[in-house]
């Protein structure tokens, strides 16, 4: 009855306070890039001879490609509304398989790479099927899976580090360079372009977006929600395995524990990336910028002589700040409605 009368069409937000809002949202898109530039400028000013060198820049861009690919894998399920806490476990297992099968048993490196990728698919399938068949929260399933995989790595490696990985792999990861930057960096860039293409230019990307932001709407619009979530989790497994292969190729060896430390940086970068380029959404370009922003900060602080504690403090702090920022942005958008 009268509730149909009380509601009047609302004026367009843009016509009333258009310019200010538009300028602010433009600033929000690029703010992370600006912050990155500021961080580079500060460290360059403080340590011009060690930080601001071609060699150091190439190191940052190259060595953090592993984190770029891992985080790009992570944002696939995040975009579809699911957490994946097993990615670091998958990365470690994949790196260890390369170390054992190639470094120890000298199996052809490219066969080993294929095997590692296949393991990524299997992990993703397990995660997805457990989530879908038993209706368990993916947070719990992947938390268990990550720990399970870390244990498997300790078992198969007997808690040892394996070196002697084929130079064939090491060369195409860090040995060879293009424009002075290790090839690794370009793999991250290609992965970023592929994820951007998937998210923004395919129908599947649109469906993922609906599954992640409004699952009931997706279901009632005829989208196969379960299949979409499964594909996203398998994608995360594959990209995490790829990151593990690069991880092994970067150092030419595989150790059983250091890979698991990549989980938190990946989450920090994913959430920070969701505040940039397309604010409010997990997106590919925001992710790559966030990884390099964080890596630059850690690298600079290390050059200033701060101890290894700074990495944890920096990444952990960044995760909380990033989530708080996106929460603030959401609240502000809600205020604009009224």
């Amino acid at each position: 009855m009268s509730d149909t009368l009380t509601e009047t069409p609302k004026p367009t937000p843009r016509s009333t306070r258009g310019n200010g809002r538009q300028a602010r949202s433009q600033f929000e898109r690029v703010s992370l890039i600006l912050a990155w530039i500021v961080v580079i400028a500060i460290f360059s000013f403080v340590r011009p001879d060690t930080f601001f060198t071609v060699g150091n820049m190439a190191t940052i861009l190259g060595s953090d490609a592993v984190l770029v690919i891992l985080t790009l894998g992570l944002i696939l399920p995040l975009r579809a509304g699911d957490y994946d806490l097993s990615i670091a476990g998958t990365l470690t297992l994949s790196a260890m398989l390369v170390g054992i099968m190639n470094g120890e048993h000298h199996i052809n490196i490219w066969l080993v790479v294929l095997a590692a990728l296949a393991v990524g698919v299997v992990v993703g399938l397990f995660n997805g099927l457990f989530v879908l068949i038993f209706g368990i929260n993916p947070f719990i399933v992947t938390l268990g899976m990550g720990t399970f995989l870390a244990g498997i790595v300790l078992l198969i490696s007997n808690d040892q580090t394996f070196a002697g990985i084929s130079p064939g792999l090491v060369n195409v990861v860090v040995g060879d360079r293009f424009l002075g930057i290790p090839l690794e960096f370009y793999y991250g860039l290609i992965a970023c372009i592929l994820v951007w293409y998937l998210f923004d230019l395919t129908t599947f990307g649109r469906k993922m977006l609906f599954v992640g932001t409004a699952r009931d709407v997706a279901r009632l619009s005829g989208i196969k929600v379960g299949r979409t979530r499964l594909v996203a989790l398998v994608g995360a497994g594959v990209l995490a395995a790829l990151a593990g292969i690069l991880y092994a190729g970067t150092s030419g060896s595989a150790d059983p524990t250091s890979g698991t430390a990549q989980l938190l940086p990946a989450y920090a970068a994913a959430f920070l990336g969701a505040t940039a380029i397309v604010p409010g959404r997990f997106n590919a370009w925001g992710t790559i910028i966030a990884v390099y922003f964080l890596a630059t900060g850690v690298n600079g602080l290390a050059i200033l002589g701060l101890g290894s504690w700074v990495q944890d403090v920096f990444y952990g702090g960044a995760l909380i700040v990033a989530v708080a920022l996106s929460q603030l942005a959401r609240r502000r958008q809600e205020q604009e409605i009224t």
Binding site: D3, T4, P9, T202, V217, L220, S221, G222
Partner: protein, 531 residues
């Protein structure tokens, strides 16, 4: 009008006295100066249409709403501070069985039974075995077998209702054991909807017993035959106002319906009118459709026909669109759509959309459109594959077509990049209509298509639906807005207790006829075929 019976005639001081209670929600006056008395030992009916203020009154009595200043509630002559606190409800002996029962589905029967005591009598050593024995003892006198260790969520709806009633009644008895035998009040809000007829008889016996002990019962129900059977007085609300309080012995069913809807329903329910769609072939045939409430429903929709389904809340009409779409699982049923036939038990939304069925759900924000995404993304979702060319989405064409739809449907603002949540309800609903009509479905399912929509958008949406039907689409519209149904539909099925009780064709479609038919409990079905 009937003469209002005074409380004094029935006894001494009223147990519960409601004086001039009002409640506003924004500009809406849900309750407007309502007063009534509850005498000791009486069963008092409370009736009215959906939106008449019954629920608001019950929620005010149970302390969920704070009424406007000037409202007074007295219990045994003592004025109660408002909003009524949970503690004073306990002290005064007011017990409620709410429409949604307020049970914790993941906890056991025993835990649910003792939730009040657990909150008021802390114990440092709870023993399951003891809890279980006490629960068995408490349940025993009420006939129905219930396992105290069973999780409430796994019980049938009738058992859940039974449990909630037992909990309230034993709470009332406990009150007697503690307090100075002051009479208590049991409020039953639409509890019979899920009870089978045996359970209903049992409940009525229990109600008589409670009243015989001097406690009072407030009985809220849409089913007037029940109200006439069990109550001694009836209070009728309409549009938030008190119509009257009458002695049950003095009223007939027809009078009560007239008081509830404000007009006498015509006796022309049998008037069949031949409309221009009558001759057309049926494109949709539903047979033996059953769900949580509806039982063995069968009907057909002709090409270009708008079929309405209506009834009181809980009658089952509201689940029909979701069942047909597979959004809610049907227990039996078949759907014939053109040449295709579907088993309804295995229907899913993705199968339905694939076969040309569209569904506009009632819950616009939660199920109709993604508020966090843009208007363009929401508009294009159903037809997104049309925009894929050589593996790439044609984004400029998407944008262009979305902008054209905004013009066509008069959706404001005219910016496809606006977030869906920033649109008004009417504009959101127009986006959802446009999104589905773009697929050119052969069956359009609507649930409350103009809820919370401004007047202008409402007209535009109804016109769109008529136009879609005119172009040959079969439309099914489930709505509690009887005025809208009378404007929109070619034919309306009215449900009660999960079954069709009336079929109103063509010109007998008036707001009053649809509302009145909802109070029927025995089917008087007219056939409109073969004229």
């Amino acid at each position: 009008m009937m003469s209002a019976a005074s409380a004094e005639a029935l006894g001494q001081e009223p147990v519960l006295s409601v004086r001039n209670v009002s409640k506003e929600f924004g500009a809406t006056r849900a309750l407007d100066g309502v007063s009534f008395d509850l005498a000791a030992g009486e069963v008092h009916g409370l009736v009215g249409e959906n939106g008449s203020g019954k629920s608001t009154l019950i929620k005010t009595l149970s302390g969920l709403h704070l009424p406007e200043p000037g409202s007074v509630i007295e219990v045994a002559g003592e004025q109660v501070p408002l909003p009524i606190s949970a503690a004073s409800l306990q002290r005064l002996g007011l017990r409620f069985v709410h429409q949604d029962l307020m049970l914790a589905p993941t906890l056991t029967v025993a835990e649910n039974l003792f939730v009040n005591e657990l909150s008021t009598e802390p114990s440092w050593l709870l023993r399951d075995s003891q809890l279980r024995r006490r629960a068995e003892a408490m349940l025993a006198p009420y006939g129905r077998e219930l396992d105290p260790a069973a999780k409430v969520g796994t019980l049938a709806a009738a058992d859940q209702a039974h449990l909630a009633i037992v909990r309230a009644v034993s709470g009332l008895r406990r009150h007697h054991a503690l307090a100075r035998a002051a009479p208590g009040v049991l409020v039953l809000d639409e509890v019979t909807a899920f009870l089978p007829s045996a359970g209903r008889a049992q409940l009525f016996e229990l109600i008589h017993e409670i009243a015989a002990q001097g406690d009072s019962v407030v009985f809220v129900s849409h089913y007037l035959d029940e109200v006439l059977e069990i109550t001694s007085r009836i209070t009728v609300l309409r549009d938030g106002k008190l119509v009257s309080t009458v002695d049950t012995a003095d009223v007939a069913g027809d009078d009560l319906v007239e008081m509830i809807i404000g007009r006498r329903i015509g006796t022309d329910l049998t008037d069949t009118h031949t409309d221009d769609v009558d001759g057309r072939p049926p494109v949709v045939t539903v047979s033996d459709l059953s769900g949580p409430v509806v039982r063995g429903l069968g009907f057909s929709i002709r090409e270009g026909e708008v079929l309405g389904v209506a009834g009181l809340i809980g009658s089952g009409f509201e689940e029909i669109p979701a069942l047909l779409f597979g959004a809610q699982q049907a227990t039996t049923g078949r759907l014939q759509l053109g040449e295709q036939e579907f088993e309804m038990t295995s229907m899913t939304p993705s199968a339905a959309t694939g076969r040309g069925i569209a569904f506009v759900p009632e819950d616009r924000a939660g199920a109709g459109a993604a508020g966090a995404l843009t208007v363009e993304e929401n508009l294009s979702l159903q037809v997104i594959s049309r925009y894929q060319r050589r593996g790439l989405l044609h984004r400029s064409r998407l944008h262009h077509d979305a902008a054209a739809l905004l013009d066509d449907y008069d959706i404001r603002p005219r910016d496809p990049g606006t977030k869906m949540a920033n649109l008004s309800g009417g504009n959101q609903q127009k986006v959802i209509m446009a999104k589905w009509l773009a697929t050119n479905p052969s069956l359009l399912l609507l649930h409350e298509p103009t809820h919370g929509v401004d007047v202008g958008s409402r007209e535009q949406i109804l016109l769109r639906i008529r136009k879609a039907a005119h172009d040959g689409m079969a439309v099914l519209c489930a709505s509690s807005d009887t005025e809208q149904l009378s404007e929109l539909c070619d034919r309306v099925l009215v449900l009660a207790r999960g079954r069709v009780v009336a079929e109103l064709p063509g010109h007998s479609l008036t707001k009053e006829a649809i509302a009145g038919a909802g109070y029927l409990t025995t089917p008087i079905k007219q056939m409109t075929e073969g004229s």
